[in-house]
């Protein structure tokens, strides 16, 4: 088992009343899973993803990641954990405009203290793997949305994480580009990467092996 959430709840206080963002979530992920989280707007999909990605905390419950109890870890430990094992893919790509494709890919490695030659070869591998060698010196604004998202995925993968978290990865793309991205995910999953995606679309959901439905913070 890669990770497990037990009775996880998250809420905000508003006007003396608790508004639950997540309520009593029980949920586990095995290595090699491809999970789709579905649900209408405001149902807590992104919040759940952020909790899993350790970018956001929760108020109650237990979260175990690779046998570590995330809820009792110190902030520093926790960030080391997610840096090592989790890669993020965002709906709006979140590439850095001022950096070229190559530099964008290289960035996570810089923060993980990889050596220069290692960085070079890993970046080279990724460029190869996603067929974007020709684009390596371009800036994000010079790429199409699909290409940008491809770079986003490559960046998420570069430090070889065990888990990819993707928040509506095709939300800003047209259907053809979306399909290509989903194909890429399927391919990655086959190679052994665990993937959790948040999606609105039934079509994208179909790529996954398991579906989790959320409604108003509850698992359905």
């Amino acid at each position: 088992m890669l990770l497990q959430l037990k009775n996880v709840s998250k809420w905000v206080q508003s006007g003396g009343q608790k508004t639950f963002l997540l309520k009593d979530i029980n949920f586990w992920v095995n290595e090699g899973d491809f999970i789709s989280i579905m649900g209408p707007s405001g149902s807590g999909k992104s919040t759940l993803l952020n909790v899993i990605g350790m970018l956001d905390g929760f108020n109650e419950g237990e979260y175990t990641f690779l046998d570590e109890s995330v809820h009792s870890l110190k902030e520093k430990h926790r960030s080391n954990l997610y840096k090592q094992y989790i890669g993020f893919v965002f709906q709006s790509y979140h590439l850095i405009d001022e950096l070229t494709v190559k530099e964008n890919l290289e960035m996570p490695l810089l923060y993980k203290k990889y050596g220069s030659s290692e960085r070079k070869s890993l970046v080279g591998d990724m460029l190869d793997r996603f067929n974007i060698v020709g684009k390596k010196d371009l800036f994000p604004s010079q790429l199409s949305g699909g290409q940008q998202q491809l770079v986003g995925i490559a960046r998420a993968l570069i430090a070889s994480p065990k888990l990819i978290l993707a928040d509506e990865p095709t939300g800003n793309l047209n259907s053809k580009q979306g399909e290509e991205i989903m194909e890429t995910f399927t391919q990655l999953n086959k190679e052994g990467v665990t993937i959790i995606q948040v999606t609105h679309s039934e079509k994208n959901m179909a790529y996954g092996s398991r579906v989790i439905n959320l409604l108003d913070g509850n698992l359905v």
Binding site: L55, K83, H94, I96, P108, R155
Partner: protein, 836 residues
């Protein structure tokens, strides 16, 4: 529409409190600094303007005939006025002031008690004095107050001092004459206290007729340069023409002086120099700071005016830049409003109008606040700058109010122009989509402006450091003798010439190791005379005179490089002289290296002014500073106090100087006891002698007073400039943080540590400051070099000062930016990435 603009501006201001506070604060600090400097300059430039006919009053100056004919002196002989009255009909009035120097006034009290006052601000004036100058005569008849000999006019303050609340008119006081006798004067008038903005500062005026004996004997002289001559020209006089016309006067009137006193023709005496008469406008006298020679009253310094004017302008530029930077920086917040306005059909022109109106509003608020700040800080400024400037009194002056209004509008226009054009340029569709934030337009210009700000601030910091360094250097300079622990008692001349009784008393005091009398004290040895060598060349040179007894040189502890000190046991020694090295050089007798082969000892020096008495050189002392260390050491001849062949024998002020025994005087109380004892000793000899003392090292310190004051003011303004620049940087970093928050959050999600984010964020600003340092260094170097040229002894322009300034600038930058850095770096990235 106007109301609508104001409403929008107000709501924006309220909504972005931090921005508004920064912006208004930065502006008002800048404007306040600028106003204070403006008021200061205005005050300095308007000295002597209270005289009703001030625009027509000129002071007559002439070359410094005693030392250097290229120098101008404000001191003229009594005959100059006589000549002008006779030969220059363009003058409506000519009046002269005799600068009598310090006088001792004895006032009899009610119960036979007499009080002694020492009056330093004491002049003898002519009958028409009040016709020329508009001093406010409160009591007495303006036509006749100075008509009789021994009539006196005093200020209100002095009247109070002398007579309390009694009517001073008709009262008599006694003034000690130079021969020690007392002369009775009658108070004929009272004038209002002299305005501080007057170069003629007096407490007591007496009629020049009181000196009729001297005037009779010496009134024809052109070398009795104790007078200041002022002329009131007729209306419509061409000053250039008049100046040309009066040049004929010295060659016509001065020859009797040169012939009778120096036995030289006029041309021989001037030796090719032109004896010019200069007309200096009254309003220039204070601020020109020139001529410095024999000038009395306060003087300004045109360099200060230039420096502070420049700083005032720079500070204003700094705060304008702040305003522009902050206004454009918050553009992303305004972008949507602009987009909506444009879509709804607003023309660019009216947008520009709106923003300029807004900035004018800001400037107006800033100005009002600045005026409050000025009023609050004036007292402090007046104290540290030793000035007396006012703000409130200007409010009744319509020109001031109009000036302020124009200032607001112009500053509003300038500081509003760039934001207005920049903001109104936005494309409506893009701004509605919220794209403006991403592109960060105008970043180049904003960064450029920050570089300008920091260049100015850093250059100021470097200059300030060097000013401090120079002051420290100058006051620590070796003056050639140990200037510490020398106590000096003044007014010894009033005892008479024989002061041995007092000296014996002093000598018996174990607190003094050495006691000596002199007729001048460093750093104020100014008297000089013309001398020549009696060998082949016969060159005439100017040497400073210092009359002293042999013991005085021991008190100073000056070093002899050749020959020896006067020796009392050899009666002939009193007709010999001691030179300093500079004098030996000036006389063409070689320098230290040639003394062995061609010793100056035994050479003959002769006076070259009238008498041709010859003096043998018996010693050469190592050069020591007889004036402030700002000046090169002048050639000096030390004359024995009993040498009755030199003209000023028996005259002049004299002093006793004592070297303190540090073993006996260890603390302030000891010193006070000692001073009391000395006062007592003096009083026993003659209680009418005012007791006055000074310390040599303090006198040397005082020669830097104006520099020290400038340094203090400079410190304050540099600090202001830095504060303003930092406010700007703070605002800009807040804005940049907003711009870059997304990027930094991505980095954080991808694994960046807080520290690496902090470095990344601050480096953007550090880079700007480094560029500013590169620009500021040469600018500051040139300024410092220019300023140091005023000094004879300069502190070296060391590299470490620049390094210190650079490091502090970077340090200040990091601290200023760190608030935003930490805020951004520590924030939860997911919050910043969420909304899309």
């Amino acid at each position: 529409m106007f109301k609508h603009y104001i409403k929008i501006a107000w709501r924006n201001a309220i909504r972005q409190k931090q921005f508004t506070i920064l912006n208004v604060l930065g502006l008002s600090i800048g404007i306040a600094t600028c106003f204070i400097i403006g008021l200061y300059i205005h005050s300095e430039m308007t000295y002597d303007t209270f005289h009703e006919r001030g625009e027509r009053i000129y002071r007559v100056n002439q070359p410094n005939i005693w030392r250097d004919w290229n120098e101008v002196s404000s001191a003229t002989g009594p005959n100059v006025a006589t000549a002008l009255r006779s030969d220059a009909p363009d003058f409506e009035e000519i009046t002269r002031l005799l600068n009598t120097g310090t006088q001792v006034v004895k006032v009899g009290g009610e119960s036979n008690q007499t009080s002694i006052y020492k009056e330093e601000q004491y002049f003898a004036v002519e009958e028409n004095f009040l016709d020329v100058f508009s001093f406010d005569l409160l009591k007495g008849n303006p036509k006749t107050v100075f008509a009789e000999p021994f009539s006196m006019v005093i200020t209100t303050k002095t009247a109070k001092r002398y007579f309390g609340n009694q009517n001073p008119l008709g009262k008599t006081v006694e003034v000690k004459d130079f021969d020690g006798s007392w002369k009775t004067y009658t108070v004929n008038g009272v004038v209002a206290d002299v305005p501080y903005k007057s170069h003629i500062q007096f407490e007591v005026l007496v009629s020049l007729k009181s000196f009729s004996d001297q005037m009779h004997a010496n009134g024809w002289k052109w070398i009795w340069t104790a007078f200041s001559t002022y002329g009131l020209v007729k209306e419509g006089t061409d000053i250039g023409e008049l100046t040309d016309q009066i040049q004929a006067i010295p060659p016509k009137w001065a020859p009797p002086t040169t012939e009778r006193i120096f036995n030289q023709t006029f041309d021989e005496f001037t030796a090719g120099n032109a004896w010019r008469l200069y007309l200096q406008p009254l309003s220039d006298i204070y601020i020109a700071g020139e001529p410095t020679i024999h000038s009395f009253g306060p003087t300004g310094d045109p360099i200060f005016i230039k420096i502070f004017g420049a700083i005032g302008l720079l500070v204003l530029v700094l705060s304008c830049i702040n305003f522009m930077n902050l206004s454009t920086a918050r553009s992303s917040k305004r972008a949507k409003e602009i987009g909506v306005r444009k879509v709804l059909g607003t023309k660019r022109k009216s947008l520009i109008k709106q923003f300029i109106l807004e900035s004018t509003l800001f400037v107006f608020i800033g100005t009002v606040l600045a005026l409050v700040l000025v009023q609050l800080s004036l007292k402090i400024f007046n104290t540290i700058a030793d000035v007396n400037i006012e703000l409130i009194s200007h409010f009744t002056n319509p020109w001031f109010l109009i000036g302020v209004l124009i200032f607001v509008v112009v500053l509003g226009l300038i500081s509003g122009s760039y934001p207005a054009f920049y903001l109104s340029m936005f494309q409506p569709i893009e701004t509605l989509k919220g794209k403006i934030g991403k592109k960060f337009r105008g970043k180049g210009i904003r960064n450029g402006l920050v570089v300008v700000q920091f260049t100015i601030s850093i250059a100021l910091v470097i200059c300030t450091l060097f000013v401090q360094k120079q002051l420290g250097y100058a006051s620590s300079l070796d003056v050639g003798f140990e200037k510490e622990n020398i106590l000096q008692i003044h007014n010894i001349e009033q005892i008479g010439f024989d002061t041995e009784v007092l000296k014996t008393k002093f000598l018996s005091n174990p607190a003094f190791t050495k006691v000596g009398k002199s007729f001048g004290l460093p750093p104020n040895v100014w008297t000089g005379d013309r001398y020549k060598t009696v060998d082949a060349q016969n060159d005439v040179v100017q040497l400073r005179n210092l009359r002293a007894e042999e013991d005085y040189l021991d008190v100073l502890g000056v070093e002899f490089v050749a020959g020896s000190n006067f020796d009392v046991s050899r009666p002939n020694d009193k007709y010999k002289v001691i030179l300093n090295e500079e004098a030996v050089r000036a006389l063409g007798w070689g320098d230290k290296t040639t003394y062995k082969t061609d010793s100056p000892i035994g050479k003959i020096l002769a006076l070259a002014s009238g008498s041709e008495d010859e003096f043998e050189v018996m010693g050469v002392v190592k050069d020591f500073n007889i004036n402030s260390v700002q000046q090169k050491i002048a050639p000096l001849v030390i004359i024995h106090h009993q040498n009755d062949k030199v003209w000023d024998y028996g005259g002049g002020l004299s002093y006793y100087s004592m070297r303190l025994n540090p073993m006996m005087v260890t603390n302030v109380e000891d010193l006070q006891v000692l001073i009391n004892k000395v006062e007592n000793d003096l009083a026993r000899i003659d209680p009418s002698i005012p007791f006055e003392y000074s310390f040599m090292d303090q006198d040397f310190e005082n020669t830097f007073i104006s520099e020290q004051r400038m340094a203090t003011i400079l410190n304050v303004f540099t600090f202001m400039a830095l504060v303003i620049a930092c406010l700007g940087l703070f605002g800009l970093s807040a804005f940049t943080a907003e711009q870059r928050v997304k990027e930094l959050s991505i980095r954080k999600v991808l694994g960046a540590k807080v520290s690496s984010l902090a470095v990344l964020f601050s480096s953007e600003f550090t880079k700007l400051v480094v560029v500013a340092i590169v620009f500021a260094t040469p600018i500051a170097y040139l300024l410092v070099d220019w300023w140091l040229e005023n000094f004879a002894y300069r502190t070296p322009i060391d590299v470490w000062v620049f390094i210190v300034a650079a490091i502090s600038a970077i340090g200040i930058t990091l601290i200023t930016v760190s608030f935003q850095t930490l805020k951004v770096a520590m924030s939860n990235p997911i919050k910043n990435l969420r909304t899309e």
